[in-house]
Symmetry: C2
Subunit: 513 residues, 2 copies
């Protein structure tokens, strides 16, 4: 599954009134000065960072710095010289990694379908030492690898200091005090919020390494987690306005919006993502009761449901194969997404009804309620396998299908846990590959009344990432294939990814109650 849409001549339709409001909500960034690296290796040999400034570095030498935590921000290196005169420029490569494994892949060997330009490395020539080398961009990293590409026989390079400044718009002072029943849960909770904080920039980014961009599926989960932590309410509002303010010419919402310049909806439409705008808006209003947002965003939101109702249903009331193929659900090449998308659509229609209720529009409230109910019936009638005791998409059994049917209230609660269990163990059923999907899995378990298994899965799955040594949660993690990548090379994977930040939300709302 490659997610690269190109619509020739595509121009998003921008609503200047909504975009002006989004712009006014743009948060300032907070800057954090981080302390020195907690560990340092020169050519694989551990030395104290205090001793590093005295360590002459020659051509080919490699210095690995571990800053002890994930950082999104800027790096400046203090460079000096040892030996005789600097009779030639110093030439170095500085590479950044969120996890050490990124350094074990050769960037030149990467041939995946995402751009290799995401690999975080720079080369620099330093004509005159000593020098302060400010690397030119924002990076997402915990580890920095400095490779001396050349000095000259006359002199050696010294790495005298490394100064990191973090950037985020998240306000840590708003975090509530929390106590936890055990250390594991505390660590998972804190890594969730670290992950969210790193993605909380001038938009809610999907990943600060990649794509550094506002994606709808991520936004919804970030917002949920932010409500119980940083409460970046104006920023969440800004993001909702950006999706509503720049759309496809026909009114559909893009899966993501470019925001570095004049906001522009990407020409990528994902059916499920567009529909998720409705629950995302509803959840925002439940937190804020923001009348202005309801007024401005109701119509763009409802349009997403209306468009799918009009264009993406068979006569039987099941989403079309085409609409399902054009939805995300999870990174998976062999997943039949029909049942899952059906579930997402039903949830969107439920949200639409609630939104109309908030707006006092009982007619439309009833309309969406009826539609939701009709689609539930259709699903039960056409997707349920009584023989297997689970939902099918085509002839495929997948846990994805069960999850969204459960969350959409299609599945009788008493059968839910069993269906999930069956689908997980069903021979050849597609595996869940992303924390995004695992979030919905845990939510489905909770909805099925499986609080114990939900907590256990949260501890096993997200805890598994922490047990690799990471202190943030990843874009993609399958414990059975820890080096996997949806992109053809894990060097471009994001290891601090918004859609993985929800354990704190789940712990707060469901497990610590």
């Amino acid at each position: 599954m490659q997610l690269i849409s190109i619509i020739p001549g595509f121009q998003p339709k921008n609503d200047s009134r909504l975009l002006a409001k989004a712009e006014a909500l743009k948060p300032g960034l907070r800057y954090t000065q981080y302390p020195a690296p907690v560990s340092c290796r020169v050519n694989g040999r551990e030395i104290s960072f205090d001793a590093l400034p005295e360590q002459p570095l020659r051509k080919g030498d490699r210095v690995l710095l571990d800053f002890g935590r994930h950082i999104v921000g800027r790096l400046s290196l203090s460079l000096g010289q040892a030996g005789s005169f600097q009779d030639a420029p110093a030439y170095i490569r500085v590479a950044f990694a969120e996890i050490p494994g990124e350094f074990s892949e050769d960037p030149r060997q990467y041939s995946g379908w995402l751009s290799s330009s995401w690999i975080q490395q720079e080369e620099a020539h330093i004509d005159i030492l000593p020098a302060q080398l400010a690397l030119p961009r924002r990076y997402a990293f915990r580890y920095v690898l400095v490779t001396v590409l050349d000095t000259s026989p006359k002199y050696q390079l010294l790495l005298r200091g490394a100064c990191c400044t973090g950037e985020s718009s998240a306000d840590e002072s708003r975090l509530p005090a929390r106590s936890f029943p055990d250390e594991e849960l505390r660590q998972i909770y804190e890594a969730s919020l670290r992950t969210l904080g790193e993605c909380t920039q001038q938009v809610l980014e999907d990943g600060p390494k990649r794509d550094r961009r506002l994606w709808l599926g991520d936004l919804r989960l970030q917002a949920l987690t932010s409500y119980i932590s940083f409460r970046s309410i104006p920023l969440i509002k800004r993001c909702l306005y950006l999706f509503a303010g720049s759309r496809f010419p026909d009114g559909r919402m893009s899966a993501n919006v470019f925001t570095e310049k004049e906001p522009a909806a990407d020409d990528t439409y994902l059916t499920d993502y567009a529909l998720l705008f409705l629950p995302a808006l509803l959840e925002y209003l439940e937190e804020t009761d923001d009348k202005e947002a309801l007024e401005d965003l109701l119509s763009p939101a409802l349009f997403q449901a209306d468009w799918v109702l009009e264009h993406c249903l068979t006569q039987d009331g099941i989403v079309t194969e085409e609409a399902a193929a054009g939805s995300f659900i999870d990174w998976s090449d062999d997943l039949d997404r029909r049942a899952a998308l059906q579930g997402v659509l039903i949830q969107a229609l439920d949200a639409a009804a609630s939104l109309c209720a908030r707006a006092g529009d009982q007619t439309r409230e009833a309309f969406y309620q009826e539609k939701a109910e009709a689609l539930r019936q259709a699903a039960r009638r056409l997707l349920w396998s009584e023989a297997l005791g689970c939902f099918l998409a085509g002839n495929q059994v997948s846990v994805h299908s069960q999850i969204f049917m459960i969350l959409a209230g299609v599945m009788p609660p008493e059968k839910a846990a069993q269906a999930l269990d069956l689908a997980l163990r069903y021979p050849g059923s597609p595996r869940m590959s992303t924390p995004y999907m695992h979030h919905y899995y845990v939510m489905a378990l909770l909805k099925a009344g499986q609080r114990g298994p939900a907590e256990k899965h949260l501890r096993d799955y997200w805890g598994g990432m922490l047990r690799t040594g990471s202190d943030t949660f990843w874009e993609s993690w399958d414990p059975a294939d820890p080096d996997g990548s949806p992109y053809g090379g894990r060097i471009v994977n994001s290891y601090c990814h918004a859609w993985s930040c929800t354990p704190a939300y789940i712990i707060d709302r469901y497990l610590l109650k």
Copy 2:
């Protein structure tokens, strides 16, 4: 012959009074805006530069720009995008070359003894297009190769413009009007001055690509050529003061001085280079009659001759093998430098006598005259081979030996032409490899009364570089080995090099008289 000296713990001795004067003489730079490239190739296919901004560039595409003349300065690229959205950074490499051949070598394959950091290339990630990419350093180039390392499947890069700003302290308005008997001589003259102008920065650099530094052997030839052209008198004075102002602790002059920070004599002593300070100072005074410089610099100058007289002569009055091995003369591994250094020393002593005469010190004038004469006698007695009709160094016949013996007035003029001719053709005699050496060869021909052969050689040799398509003169050029390098890879050769700028001087002073 590798020229890398490292004296552990070396600290130059700086004279703050002389260095303050040098600092006060530091020239400002003049900036020249250069027009667009004269030609442009995309993946080898010629296109007009006007059409380039519309040419979508994809991963792997290569754009070769030819600016039509050698430039020392800065480059800024205007980058845009085509296709769909920029969903990933653009990643490019920008390489600079003085001659196209530099691009045909793979920098990763270079393994010579000079630092690979001299290879002029940068990599850059551009997060947001359009962008103006100002490359971070000063480069010496005529050709620029932009390689698109990656974009993404969604968009292509556009190269919309390239803006070059030249830097030099040479004042072109001071160049005299000149007419020439033919086009070849005009072209050689102009390339000489282009070469000199490019090296005329805040010091007289040896080469603006490499080493960008003040070297004594180059300075002498640059100054001679500057007197008949840009007349950068304060800069030449500054350079003389820099050599006198930062020296070895024992008073010897270094072969080169680092000037980017507090001036510092390099820990490289070359016997011939140090001695050349004397003729260089004398020539400066002959141009300027600068009493302050005579007073300040006479003593440091005479010290260079005195030190060699005291430390580098055998009892027979011939320079020692050790002193000869520690002199430059020419890039050559198998050259015996004794006779050549003997000639350089004699010329330095002649210059010392003239400097003393200017200072009104007849006692020391006579002393140096006597010393010079004694060394001439010793050379005639011990180095001359009557059988061969030329000077020997050890048992070696070389044109280098003849040249410096002629220039030192040791060789009877009537035998000079024949000795040069013999040595050039002598089986196994070392070849001249640098324009620096060819300059002295032409000067020796002229001193031998061989004006015709001198002019022919100037046209053949320097004209040969121009016939490769270059518009500046190179650091190293042997027509029999046009791809040779003294450094183990021509990619680090300098193709605009100070010591090659003298044809204009020779034409002006000797050929157009």
